[in-house]
């Protein structure tokens, strides 16, 4: 059974984009209309995603394609297409649902902004572009939407454009992700060159299907790694993670959208989408490209978790937790747990959106105060925010049984523990779990417990237009775990296309216990460490050097600033200098040589040729004057001259003879 939505799936990304264009067309003053159109657009997209969800339920591995020719260059058609499969639909439902909540929240959060309607236009565009990434059945089309996601994030991070820091952060995000995108672009070219197609699935001829994978041959690892560059850029993997914390400069709903539903999800989704390329010729599920993914994921996850412990900006802590969680997802994909990675992505989408919106609610309540040291004791002042935030915190920390994040984290740990290459990633991920619980506990203690510090006592609970989305998301973060449990691993079966096999006893016995202990340890350490948290961080007091190291984000930004950026700027200045002085200098040198020749010729003209002619004329005149004297008019003198001449001639002949 295929409903209309399967063939017209393009309508899902198109709806928010059209909404965005409509809002822009309305202009600045149609504030209410702008918000209404954006929310309706998102609701329609959500409804259509749910429609698209229906046919995929009927059979395992359902996949509907709609390929068509975009344009014909020369005699070659370029085909792109849309795909509806469990991966795409699951992502779409998550994106539109989370997006819808964020949109509604924004109505309250941005109520006083003067560019209110433009904000909704950008948000709609962002959501539409991300939906486009998800439903693309062609790496090219995916790249198109991918870049549009980048553009939308640029516009939104720099939304408060009058702040120089926002503009700088937007620029940084665009350029950092574009560095990765250039890798993706090259990977796309290499893939197209080798396999002759950019379609993912094309009834047996697509790039992800065996015949084309065979054609890629030996360069498959390179293709995979180049594509991973793009994914690393968008998903904030080390060493391209630097933009993600700075992206906090955008309004908080934007952060929620970037960190939960759209931007960063794109990278993980991309790896999952092109997973067959990563998995070609796998021995025991290990390939060199996947190994790279695992290690990058591990490094990112651990590094970000460590940095998160030493941050004071409420959003920055969450941002580093996102980076850390993305690393975890990458690890999961790399060790072969594709479904686990995507499940964590979906679950993360819900609880991270919840956390960011909760943080937004706090920031809103505190009149744009973001430093956790100046908060505290908000538990009573903002009860709904606190309750929902606590749910999000538990889910992120991975508290088992009741929270979606707990289950997906189990899956990932399970997959990682069975990775045949090495056990080091597994232990490092376990360490990450402890750290996650630790920094989330720290944040919650700082924000919601203890005494109210500085101006926190003016805080007020946010209006219901902001708390309602929080409640919806909190409910989602909890109830989503229903489809994740090993008892009924419906989502995993759905994503994998075949029934998941589990030995529930094994899970209950070892894994759950391990993570229960670890999470409990993390929370306990947090409670103990921060029991007297105040203006000063206890860890900062105990280990100032270490804390400064982490607080300054391991100085990666500074290192980049001093090396890569400085080098590029230097090269640019050299290029400009060479242009002005070397290349142009050569040209001017040639010009100068020409001028020199000109001067010499001019001198020769004046001094030799002109002067010579002058002298000759003067001489000729003098000569004429002399000669005219001979012309006496005396006929006999002439005649005498003739006679003398004859005589001379005669003598000459005589002398010759």
């Amino acid at each position: 059974m295929s409903s209309w939505i399967v063939t017209d799936v393009w309508l899902i990304p198109a709806t928010p984009i059209v909404a965005a264009l409509l809002i822009l067309a309305f202009g600045k003053h149609a504030r209410l209309a702008g918000a209404v159109v954006a929310v309706i657009g998102q609701a329609v997209a959500l409804a259509m995603s749910l429609f698209a969800f229906v046919p995929t339920l009927h059979e395992h591995g359902f996949r509907a394609l709609h390929n068509f020719t975009w344009f014909t260059f020369g005699e070659q058609p370029l085909r792109i297409g849309f795909v509806v499969d469990p991966l795409a639909v699951a992502m779409m439902v998550m994106i539109t649902l989370v997006g819808f909540c964020i949109f509604v929240f924004s109505v309250g959060y941005m109520a006083e902004d003067k560019n209110f309607s433009r904000f909704f236009a950008y948000l709609s565009f962002f959501s539409g572009a991300m939906l486009g990434v998800v439903v693309s059945n062609s790496l090219l089309l995916l790249f198109v939407f991918w870049e549009l996601v980048g553009l939308a994030s640029y516009l939104l991070i720099g939304f408060w454009i009058e702040r120089p820091s926002a503009a700088a952060a937007a620029k940084k995000a665009f350029i950092t992700t574009r560095i990765g995108d250039m890798g993706l672009f090259l990977g796309l070219l290499l893939l197209y060159h080798r396999s002759g197609t950019l379609l993912f699935y094309d009834s047996g001829n697509g790039a992800l299907e065996p015949s084309a994978l065979l054609k890629i041959g030996s360069s498959v690892t390179l293709v995979a790694l180049l594509i991973f560059c793009g994914a690393a850029g968008k998903s904030g993997q080390f060493p391209l993670h630097v933009w993600l914390p700075d992206a906090m400069e955008g309004p908080t709903p934007v952060s929620a959208l970037i960190h939960a539903a759209t931007m960063v999800a794109a990278g993980v989704f991309l790896v999952a989408r092109v997973y067959p390329i990563f998995a070609v010729d796998a021995i025991n599920g290990v390939t060199s490209s996947l190994t790279v993914v695992v290690w990058i994921g591990v490094v990112t996850g651990l590094m970000a978790a460590l940095i998160a412990v030493a941050q004071f900006d409420i959003k920055r802590i969450l941002a580093y937790s996102t980076v850390s969680q993305l690393g975890l997802m990458m690890v999961s994909l790399g060790v072969g747990g594709v479904a686990a990675g995507i499940m964590h992505l979906l679950a993360h989408g819900f609880f991270k959106a919840l956390l960011f919106l909760g943080a937004g609610s706090v920031i809103h309540g505190l009149h744009h105060e973001q430093d956790v040291r100046k908060m505290g004791g908000l538990r009573k002042l903002m009860p709904i925010t606190f309750a929902t935030y606590a749910v999000g915190m538990m889910a992120l920390s991975g508290v088992p049984f009741f929270f979606s994040g707990g289950w997906t984290k189990e899956e990932i740990l399970h997959a990682t523990s069975q990775w045949p290459s090495s056990h080091v990633p597994y232990y490092l991920v376990l360490l990450g779990v402890v750290l996650t619980a630790l920094y989330m506990t720290r944040q919650v203690i700082y924000v919601f417990f203890g005494t109210t510090r500085s101006n926190a006592d003016h805080a007020h609970e946010s209006p219901s237009v902001m708390t309602a989305p929080l409640i919806i998301l909190a409910v989602c973060a909890v109830t989503f775990s229903i489809v994740l449990t090993p008892a009924w691993p419906w989502l995993e079966s759905y994503l994998n296309g075949h029934a998941a096999q589990y030995d529930p006893h094994l899970l209950i016995q070892s894994m759950i216990l391990v993570s229960l202990v670890l999470v409990g340890a993390g929370i306990a350490i947090g409670l103990w460490l921060y029991r007297r948290a105040g203006e000063v961080d206890p860890v900062q007091q105990a280990q100032p050097a270490l804390f400064r190291f982490l607080e300054n984000k391991i100085w990666i930004d500074e290192i980049y600033e001093r090396t890569v950026i400085a080098f590029a700027a230097l090269v640019a200045r050299i290029a400009d200098w060479m242009d002005r002085y070397i290349w142009d200098g050569l040209v001017r040198g040639f010009g100068a040589i020409g001028c020199l020749f000109g001067t010499i010729t001019a001198g020769a003209d004046e001094g030799v040729i002109n002067a010579g002619v002058d002298e000759t004329t003067v001489g000729a005149r003098g000569f004429g004057r002399v000669m005219s004297r001979l012309h006496s008019g005396q006929i006999q003198i002439y005649l005498g001259a003739v006679a003398l001449g004859m005589l001379a001639l005669l003598l000459f002949y005589v002398w010759l003879a």
Partner: protein, 104 residues
Amino acid sequence: MTATLQVFLIVSAALFCIGLLAALTRRHAIFILIGIEMMLAAANLNFIAFWRFGLRSPYPIGVMVAIFSIAIAAAEAAVGLAMVIAVYRHFRTTNVDQLDRLKG
């Protein structure tokens, strides 16, 4: 003294020199004309002498040339005299020293 070419040439040269001397030294135009006629006569004598001793042609080429030359000389003398008369009428003199209007 036999009549050889050399004798004729010597006579002719003498005649030419006398004529030249007359033409160069005399101040009166008529005398200059007479000198010129004498140089012409020397030339005619040469023609005949070269014909008689050098060419040895059965046809009287040299004589014919001489006669032709004499005829031209006559015409020339006539023109010359006419010019002298014209000059005299204009300048009231035939002294060539005073006739220097061609001076450069």
